[in-house]
């Protein structure tokens, strides 16, 4: 059987992510899922935008496309419609997918293109130095919210669902097994699958908010003890700038799934049926 490690471009490793970065854990889970499904990734395309999370596609021995900031979904849409038989996975971050690329996210969800979008949510712009993101929770400190964030944050999963995504799920770097399960189901789903993955920026977000680094930061995710939910609950803001011991409870697992015609089916694309599910 193929292993996750065999799907890496070894000549590119080690990757550029910081020590203890949650993105690496998510990438690890993603490759384990792909290793279960494929002997090689000839028929898999990974399309990414700009940012730390988007960089990971370069390390995977697949058809990999590192695009412009926020626009990965648009490239992926074109590619998928041109090659409907490919399994196309979009790797994006919260700034990439919800800030600069938010418009593309809602439209890809609305069209129900048969893509799987993995949004790595680290609540900050990591690559540019830890600035305020559209997902940063209120009161959190970033390099551009020195007195604590005053803006409300997006609930990415709720947004994707409202926009029409036919599969919406949330996972965590801290629970790689749940993440694997969710990713597998997302890939199996025909239509636009959106998976938000909570993963922490150890260098900026963790440090700025006294959440610690490495495993300390990772373990803060364990406070979300509600394992699997079918509801999109509000994220109660339980953190205080004083302690930062408690992180908000986030429903994990598959949050929404329905069957509706994919964009490819609506267009009657030949070749689409070749994609095995």
């Amino acid at each position: 059987m193929t292993t996750a490690k065999e799907l890496l471009r070894h000549e590119m490793m080690p990757h550029i992510l910081c020590p203890g970065c949650g993105h690496g854990i998510v990438m690890n889970a993603m490759l384990r899922v792909l290793a279960k499904r494929h002997d090689n990734l000839d028929q898999v395309a990974l399309v990414a935008g700009i940012g730390c999370s988007s960089r990971i596609v370069g390390y995977v021995d697949a058809n990999t496309l590192h695009t412009t900031h926020g626009r990965a979904l648009t490239f992926a849409t074109g590619l998928k419609l041109a090659r409907p038989e490919l399994e196309v996975i979009v790797v994006t971050g919260d700034g990439d997918g919800l800030g600069i690329g938010g418009n593309h996210l809602i439209h890809a969800a609305r069209r129900n293109v048969d893509l799987t979008c993995l949004l790595f949510n680290n609540e900050t712009y990591g690559m540019t130095g830890g600035q305020l993101a559209p997902t940063t929770v209120k009161q959190a400190f970033t390099t551009t919210s020195p007195r604590g964030n005053t803006e409300p944050n997006f609930d990415a999963a709720a947004l994707a669902k409202a926009a029409g995504a036919s599969f919406v799920a949330r996972g965590q770097a801290y629970r790689p097994d749940v993440l694997e399960e969710v990713m597998e189901r997302a890939l199996d789903h025909r239509g636009f699958s959106f998976v938000e993955v909570m993963t922490d920026c150890t260098e900026y977000f963790g440090r700025k908010n006294a959440l610690g680094q490495g495993s300390d930061l990772l373990f803060t995710q364990s406070r979300s003890d509600q394992d699997v939910s079918r509801d999109l609950a509000d994220w109660p803001t339980l953190r205080t700038p004083q302690g930062w011991q408690v992180r908000e409870t986030q429903p994990l697992g598959v949050l929404h799934e329905n069957e509706r015609p994919t964009f490819e089916e609506s267009l009657g694309l030949p070749g689409y049926s070749k994609r095995e599910v």
């Binding site: 292993t3 996750a4 490690k5 890496l8 490793m13 080690p14 990757h15 992510l17 910081c18 020590p19 203890g20 970065c21 949650g22 993105h23 690496g24 854990i25 990438m27 690890n28 889970a29 490759l31 384990r32 770097a173 790689p176 097994d177 150890t202 680094q213 490495g214 495993s215 300390d216 990772l218 373990f219």
Partner: protein, 286 residues
């Protein structure tokens, strides 16, 4: 010589969710009842959906009040899973017998909650004179249904308890689904045959358990984040002076793969070595 029906005794069936532990306990209790004995049965289950512990304690005799087996008085353990069998060793009477399936199902949740790194306890128990390890999994497959591994152990127990063998067969017929009965009866006979062929005095385990997993580190990829150090339940990893992960006690690895899965840098490989043969360890087997 006709089998002698026991006057009193106790049996613990231990395993994990889905192995039929409760059912096996019911069968034993049913046989006791059918021979006019008083029976009390206690069950522990609940966290059993994903490989969590399940156990059934059966106490029987002319009159039984206490449902719980006390330490030092346990006569028989049927271990459907290796580690679950070992859990009950402290309860054994000096001449108590453990029939333990060599199958090992590592419960992820249990791995997370374990602390410490003290692996000497299973080694101690390997030396227990009453330990009988059986490859019940293979025998069950031979019987035609891998789910009958527990019944293999019931077969072994039937040679010890002294109830007539027909009582066991009748009880199986009452409790096991009809379509699976044939396989269960075959498994039962295979268990009996195994027990009768294996002379207990030869069951001498080796001193040490060889490593079942090897830990490989891609040194150049390790960035020294220390996640493996903190997540390993066995405390195998540490960071050296150059902040590179090192496995100080790789032989303790239980294969939970937390380090491998939570390593952001793909630096750790947990490689399963050839499946360890507990039968050779304990010197048992037909």
């Amino acid at each position: 010589m006709a089998p002698r029906v026991p006057k009193q005794g106790n049996v613990v069936v231990a395993g994990v969710g889905g192995q039929g532990v409760v059912l096996a306990g019911n069968i034993i209790a049913d046989i006791c009842l059918s021979h006019g004995l008083d029976v009390k049965k206690a069950e522990v289950h609940g966290m059993s959906q994903r490989g969590g512990s399940v156990s059934a304690q059966v106490r029987f005799g002319p009159e039984v009040h206490n449902v719980v087996v006390e330490q030092g008085s346990l006569q028989y353990v049927l271990g459907f899973e290796w580690a679950e069998a070992l859990r009950w060793m402290p309860f054994l009477a000096p001449d108590g017998i453990v029939f333990a399936s060599s199958e090992r199902i590592v419960p992820p949740a249990a791995q997370r909650n374990r602390v410490g790194g003290d692996v000497s306890y299973p080694l101690e128990f390997l030396e227990h004179p009453g330990l009988r390890a059986v490859d019940a999994e293979s025998l069950a497959k031979e019987a035609g249904n891998p789910k009958t591994a527990g019944v293999v152990l019931l077969g072994a127990l039937s040679t010890e308890l002294g109830f007539p063998v027909e009582s066991w067969r009748d009880a199986l017929a009452r409790w096991v689904p009809k379509k699976a009965l044939d396989a269960n009866l075959r498994a039962f006979e295979l268990g009996r045959a195994w027990k009768q062929a294996a002379p207990p005095k030869d069951l001498r385990p080796q001193r040490t358990l060889p490593a079942q997993f090897s830990l490989k580190l891609e040194e150049a990829w390790c960035k020294g984040c220390g996640i493996c150090v903190d997540v390993c339940p066995e405390r195998i990893w540490h960071l050296d002076d150059l902040e590179v992960a090192r496995a100080a006690t790789p032989e303790r690895c239980t294969g939970c793969r937390l380090c491998e899965k939570l390593c952001p840098d793909f630096a750790i490989d947990v490689v399963q070595l050839q499946e360890i043969d507990l039968l050779t360890l304990t010197g048992g087997g037909a």
